[in-house]
Amino acid sequence: MNNTEYLEPDLAFVARLKRAGGESVKKCFQCATCVAVCDVTQSDRPFPRKEMIWAQWGLKEKLFYNPDVWLCHQCGDCSTHCPRGAKPSDVLAAVRNLSFIEYAVPGFLGKMHSSPAALVALFALPAAVLLLAAIYANGLVMPEGEIVYSRFFPLAVIDSIFIPAALFALITSILSLKKLWSGMKRNSPGKGDPDAAAVFGAVKDILLHKKFAQCRTNRPRYTGHLLIFFGFLALFATTNLVMMYHYLLGRETPLALGDPVKLLGNAGALAAFAGVSYIIARRLAAPDETGKTSYQDWTFILTLYAAIITGILAESARLADIPAAAYPVYFTHLVFVFFLIAYLPFSKFAHMLYRTAAMIYAGSNGKNN
């Protein structure tokens, strides 16, 4: 803390935080039960006790640019044990929800993602772009004969939409991450530069879901997240392999069901579907254990769910040879996929970026356990 600066609590921020899911923030009386029961926190300058008082005082700079907020996995152990009924895991989740807005470059997209009113507009963009593309490609006429989606949306058209979308996501991600990183450097001690060991450690922790495994109250989420994570990785790999098939081997979709890439894709889809279903069921059935589910949580989970379901349905409709169902479903699937990819740094999807960055930052600055 700079000794010449005045600390100024931000009442408006406290109010925002409360609206964003941290309504219990003021109940904390700093007993530090949360730190003691948290198996995820590091032991040097541990969380979430200090984050709770920062949040009570509305010290948003300290909160937003603090890797510990991202090291929290919302296990809920702290909330279960809190003697005052404060829910630190929800408060930190709320901070993260507001962080998506805070880090977002351009900022308005961050704001739009936290506002239900903007949801239609966000979906309208991919819907309109894809509609125009479909009109351009084949005048919006469903192709006759065997269902081949590349006849509806030629790969070139898909690529010309999704590659720029991905690039947009990549650039904005980098800008947003930079904002987070420099903020963390500003606010926490340490040299601030990433080191290889930290990167390796973070990747290993993520792959093994080590932190999730340490949760007790919300232990089942380990399974759900693991399924989604690897399902999603499989789907991501499938997309890239399909592109390689096309450009390098000249093999076209649809692939045979026995094709290894197809097998990988289908397995990924099923795993992700199972994972998301489980997570949704848990959030509905045991909200005390999962913690609060915010608007951003729901938007992300449901979009993901919709993308997976429409993907599975599109494949099923194709195999069942029902063109009238297949093409509209496929169109819808693309809208959801676009939403997920293009808006990645603005939706809750971005947690994978920020959490990874925070883990690397923490690891690089001597904050591993």
């Binding site: 803390m1 000794n3 609590p9 009386f29 008082i53």
Partner: protein, 712 residues
């Protein structure tokens, strides 16, 4: 010696007494003192045994020595009415710590029996000191404590005289906007202090003196003569007992310069803040602006060696309450509370919890380093915060939660015309408190009870409780005094000291040493006793070098005779004798517990219980050594800062008297090691064998008392 009413001795053979000693031999002991042979019974405390004793009483036994179990059990059963004097010799307990049927044990039992007989012979039935007493309760201080005490006393049917130095009743609480909720839930509540003041004012049993002060108090419980300066002039009145409820002063803010106290306009005390809040909108002093941010600095002066080393108990709740005022006035206002430990005990925790949950209240533990004026407002620097390190905060104004100082600190409330000083003795930090956990109203000025914040730091709710407690003690003191009985710790005792003035040398030992300030002095230094102040500890009796102070049933002569009754075997027998003078409050129960635990003690000790070790007269040591006893142990309570003496200073005074002992022993050419003071607590039973064993070794080392051969 012919006695009008000779003692009769009854030996119980139950509880293994009969199996441990030769009772037939014991029965013959009384004859040595001109007393009829002892009678034996197998079970004296049983219905049959009691009937037997009742029959004996009916046949004329007026002084009964029951040689059975300790007087600490069955006092009710062996009570045969006020005309029968009963003395108990704890044979059972003495035998429990000894080896059965051993010659030494037999000698021990015989000695205890002898001492018991002598004690009873030397004892007279006390005649209670009964006067027609006034039972008005004088309450000094008209704050919430004083008014509560006054109303409690009137509820009890007493007349009350209330003296308040201000022109209105209500004291500190009258200045409050609201009080914090007693059960911690809901909002701060109305004080109702004005209604209470009205009730006191209009109460037919209350004589109220506003703008008045006590000029002097003399006399004793039931007979206090009080002079009061009233606006109409000085009056002289009588009172039976007194409650001092003079309250507290907020700590002087100007002493807290490092916190801006006295130098920064917008730094005020919580007391001042309360007045501002009570008078309407809260505005800061410098420019009458309604503050949009206020910082509360807890422990301002409290818990601070340089100021008030204690915690003032009410400041945390006060600041939380005042935070509520600000937040009610301005929902956008920010309130900071910097505390060291948030102290909201009991249900007050629920109020803390409530205030914590207020968005505009920002709290942290920390050490406030400075409060300074800046830009028209204040700046506060706090170290070691929960936010991490040092923080610097700006606010429109700061409130120092200053602690309380006892109003008794500089005296001037009672003006007692007592030999030992004009006010209640203080105990730590200027509070005229009792030191006892178990007996918080154990006053050192009988009939005068401090209550409320004057006594120790407490809030209004506890002061109200305390006021009722003090009112009870005041009423009880008069009730007991009217029956000629002592107040605690010897409650019910009807004896009181008689002084043979013709032999008084005006040495003032008694007037100086009485823990209760019972004696006043005339110009020549002659003690002027006030028997109703007396608590029967006997310290004056122990102090008096002329041995002219005695109680009917407790006297220097009695103990001298008891000591002289101890049989001292010749040097060749190798049976040393050690006298133990032990406090009856703690040391005697410790012996009893040792007995219950069947710990083994040396058979060569002879224990005599005293009301308080303070009543130990040095002549008894002379008597003991002249008789040929080899050593004396003095068992009293621990003294010093954490004293445990129920008469405050008894054991301390006794041990001080020992400083003159060497002279006495020197005169007799005896080794100083033969006398030892040992602090004993009630739970020291397990230590007794060791303590006594060690002393026996000392006695063995220094050898037998050479006076043995000269003893009769």
């Amino acid at each position: 010696m012919t006695q009008v009413n000779a003692p009769r001795v009854y030996i119980c053979t139950g509880c293994d007494i009969g199996a441990s000693v030769d009772v037939d031999k014991l029965c013959k002991i009384p004859a040595e003192f001109g007393v009829p042979q002892a009678k034996r019974h197998p079970f004296l405390c049983g219905e049959e045994g009691l009937q037997y004793l009742r029959k004996e009483v009916a046949e004329g036994a007026g002084r009964i020595l029951i040689a059975a179990c300790s007087g600490r059990v069955y006092a009710d059963r062996f009570d045969f009415g006020k005309d029968v004097m009963v003395e108990r010799t704890a044979l059972r307990e003495a035998l429990w710590v000894s080896t059965p049927n051993d010659p030494d044990t037999q000698l021990l039992a015989e000695d205890y029996l002898k001492m018991g007989i002598v004690k009873l012979q030397k004892s007279e039935k006390p005649e209670p000191y009964i006067h027609q007493l006034d039972d008005t309760i004088l309450v000094v201080g008209g704050g919430i404590t004083g008014m509560t005490a006054a109303l409690a006393a009137t509820d009890a049917g007493k007349r009350v005289r209330l003296v308040e130095k201000e022109a209105v009743l209500g004291g500190f609480v009258r200045k409050l906007k609201r009080r914090f909720p007693i059960d911690g839930t809901g909002n701060p509540v109305e004080t109702n202090i004005v209604a209470m003041a009205e009730e006191v004012k209009n109460h037919p049993a209350v004589a109220l003196h506003l703008s008045s002060e006590v000029v002097s108090i003399s006399g004793q419980p039931g007979e206090f003569d009080v002079r009061i300066k009233t606006p109409e002039g000085e009056i002289a009145v009588r009172a039976g007992a007194i409650v001092q409820a003079t309250g507290f002063r907020p700590y002087d803010i100007s002493k807290l310069g490092h916190l801006g106290g006295g130098t920064v306009d917008n730094v005020i005390t919580s007391a001042r803040f309360e007045e501002i809040a009570a008078s309407g909108r809260i505005r800061r002093p410098s420019d009458s602006k309604e503050p949009s941010s206020v910082a509360f600095i807890q422990c301002a002066g409290s818990r601070d060696e340089k100021h008030l080393p204690y915690c003032s108990s009410f400041c945390c709740m006060t600041s939380l309450k005042q935070a509520r005022y600000i937040r009610e006035q301005n929902p956008d206002a920010k309130v900071y509370i910097f505390y060291r430990d948030m102290r909201t005990p009991g249900k007050y925790e629920l109020f803390y919890k409530q205030m914590q949950d207020d968005d505009g209240v920002f709290m942290t533990k920390g050490d406030v380093v400075s409060v300074a004026g800046v830009d028209g407002g204040v700046e506060i620097v706090v170290n070691n915060t929960l936010l991490g390190g040092t923080i610097r905060v700006k606010a429109d104004m700061a409130v120092l939660a200053v602690g309380m100082e006892s109003a008794a600190k500089n005296g001037g409330a009672l003006h007692l015309a007592y030999r030992q000083g004009p006010e209640l003795p203080e105990l730590n930090y200027g509070f005229p408190d009792s030191h006892f956990v178990c007996f918080p109203y154990e006053t050192r000025r009988t009939g005068i009870y401090a209550a409320g914040a004057v006594r120790h730091p407490m809030d209004a709710a506890q002061s109200e409780t305390d006021a009722a407690g003090a009112a009870l003690k005041a009423i009880q003191c008069i009730t007991l005094a009217a029956a000629g009985k002592s107040a605690h710790p010897r409650s019910g005792d009807t004896s009181y000291p008689d002084i043979a003035f013709e032999r008084c040398t005006q040495c003032k030992r008694c007037t100086e040493e009485c823990p209760y300030g019972m004696y006043d002095e005339d110009a020549k230094g002659t003690p002027q006793p006030n028997p109703l102040r007396c608590r029967r500890c006997g310290t004056c009796m122990g102090a008096c070098p002329q041995r002219i102070i005695s109680f009917k049933n407790y006297s220097v002569d009695m103990f001298s005779a008891m000591i002289k009754a101890i049989g001292v075997p010749g040097e060749e027998e190798n049976r040393p004798r050690v006298l133990i003078l032990a406090c009856e409050n703690d040391s005697m129960p410790a012996f009893e517990m040792a007995a219950k635990l069947r710990l083994k003690l040396s058979p060569h000790i002879r224990v005599i219980g005293l009301r308080c070790l303070g009543s130990m007269n040095m002549v008894w040591l002379n008597d003991a050594f002249a008789k040929g006893l080899d050593g004396v142990l003095l068992f009293g309570c621990k003294f010093g800062d954490e004293y445990q003496c129920h008469n405050m200073k008894g054991s301390e005074l006794a041990s001080e008297r020992l400083s003159k002992l060497e002279e006495t022993l020197g005169r007799m050419s005896l080794e100083p090691e033969r006398v030892r003071f040992v602090p004993i607590a009630i739970d020291d039973a397990y230590a007794l064998p060791g303590i006594i064993g060690d002393f026996m070794k000392v006695i063995e080392r220094v050898g037998p008392n050479p006076f043995k051969e000269f003893a009769d």
